[in-house]
């Protein structure tokens, strides 16, 4: 499995969090990656939970510079759907 596929695979763990609707990924370069998690509700506990998953991802891929966002709006059309 290539690096990006491994990242996508790891991101699928976000699916199990109640309130998370979908996830997108945008690869600027192989080591600059933007992650967008889509939620319709704004709750501190939900966001903290998502950021716990983000922190795990950073530990697994320390060479990658991530930009992590949580948003209610789908990102640019060039972003790939993770789930």
């Amino acid at each position: 499995m290539k690096g990006l596929e491994k990242i996508k695979d790891a991101l699928r763990s976000l699916k199990k969090i109640d309130g998370v609707e979908s996830c997108f990924l945008e690869e600027e370069t192989e080591d600059i990656i933007h992650i967008y998690t889509i939620t319709r509700i704004v709750k501190y506990d939900l966001d903290k939970r998502i950021f716990q998953e983000y922190a795990e991802l950073e530990k697994r891929f320390p060479h990658v510079s991530f930009e992590f966002l949580i948003t209610s709006q789908p990102p640019s059309p060039i972003a790939e759907v993770v789930f």
Binding site: D31, I32, S65, L69, S72
Partner: protein, 133 residues
């Protein structure tokens, strides 16, 4: 900006955030955004004073001409300020959501604001307070 300029801006933002959150404004989205910019200026003061670094942006960019990655502020915080990295990341995202999505316009937003203030902001602020800032 000098280190002292960054610190003045950080303190001013911290005071302003309180005013924005209190009555009559209760503008929690702006309070969160201004708290984020308070942290950002503490970070920039630290990076400048300790590492002579002036970040060029929030996130890393690819310099096509030189064929190399230029780190962003978020990368420098991860490297040089791991103590506040998690707190800063949440503020980075929350301020974006406040500015572009109007995420904290409801009365319920007070809880979100208070959690951020009492947890993430307080812990990061305490780190800088120990430096005498």
């Amino acid at each position: 900006m000098t280190v002292q300029d960054h610190l003045r801006q950080a303190h001013q933002n911290e005071e302003l955030a309180q005013k924005l959150a209190n009555q009559p404004l209760e503008a929690y989205g702006w309070a969160i955004t201004v708290m984020f910019y308070s942290l950002l200026h503490f970070v920039d003061a630290y990076l400048l004073e300790r590492h002579q670094i002036i970040p060029r942006g929030h996130t890393a960019i690819w310099d096509r001409r030189r064929g190399q990655r230029i780190p962003g502020r978020n990368d420098y915080i991860k490297q040089y300020l791991p103590q506040i990295y998690e707190a800063y990341k949440i503020f980075y995202y929350a301020s974006r959501r406040a500015r572009y999505e109007g995420a904290y316009l409801t009365l319920d937003s007070v809880r979100y604001y208070q959690n951020l203030k009492n947890n993430e902001f307080a812990s990061a602020r305490e780190f800088f307070r120990r430096l005498g800032w």
